[in-house]
Point group: C2
Chain length 111, copies 2
Amino acid sequence: MIFSSELIKGTLKTIVLKQLEANGRMYGYEITQRVKELTFDKIQITEGALYPTLHALEADGLVVTETEYIGKRIRKYYSLSPKGKTKIEEKLSEMAEFMETMKFLLDLKPI
Amino acid sequence: MIFSSELIKGTLKTIVLKQLEANGRMYGYEITQRVKELTFDKIQITEGALYPTLHALEADGLVVTETEYIGKRIRKYYSLSPKGKTKIEEKLSEMAEFMETMKFLLDLKPI
DNA sequence: GCAAATGCATAATATTCTTATGTATATTGC
DNA sequence: GCAATATACATAAGAATATTATGCATTTGC
C-alpha cells in the first residue's frame, strides 16, 4: 500500500528534518531513497515536492547547505542549523501529541 | 496547544466521516463542537474548511443529507451512505498504518 | 552503446486549507 | 428590552503545499 498523498501532506518538512537529524548530512536524492527504504516503499517523496521544501527550509534558516562535485555531477548536502535542531524537537513532540489525539478521536485500535 | 494547521491537513475528511460513523446523524456546527470538545480544543475545525468538505463528501456520494427547520433556523443533517461506511473503514485502517509508519520513521517514543 | 539510475531544478495545475465576509436566527446576561 | 454571544448555514480570495510534467546532465550496469 502506498499512502494516499493527502495523508502525507503537512508531514514532509518533519520527515526531512528528522532524516537530517538522524543522519547528519544528506543530499536530496538520498533523502527520497532513505525514506522509501525505511518505509518499504510506502512513502515515496517526489522530487517536485522535495526540492521546493528543501529550499523553503533553507530560506527559513532551518538547514544549511554545502555543494560538492562528485566527478562532474553536483551534489547539494543539507544539514540542520542550530535553529533547525530546535525546530525538529518541537515538530516531533507536536507530532507525537497529534498522533495521540488522532488515535483517541478516531478510536483506533493498536494494530 | 492548538495543532499547527498543516498537521491537520489531509485528515479532515477522515475526522468528519468518523464522527458521522460514531454518532449516526450530525449537522455541520455540531461536528465542529464535538471535535473541539473531544480534543480539548486542540483541534478546531473552521467553517471555511468544514462546509466545502461536507459538500465534497456529498458530491462523492459518501454522505447523504436531510434538511430540517429548528424554529426558523435551518439545520442540515449529514449521515453516512453505504459507500461512506465502506470508505471510513478504509480510511481508518490506512490512518492506523500511516501512524505506525510515521512512529517508526520519526522514531517517536510513547508519550 | 543504451537503458536505467543518479541528481539537480522549475512550471503549470490541483487540492485543501486560512481568513474574511455575508446572512440570519436564537439565547443569555444584565 | 437589548446587546453580546452562540448557533447555523454559506462562499470567495488568497496562501500553502502537493502532483504531474518537463528539462538537463552525468554515471552505472549489462
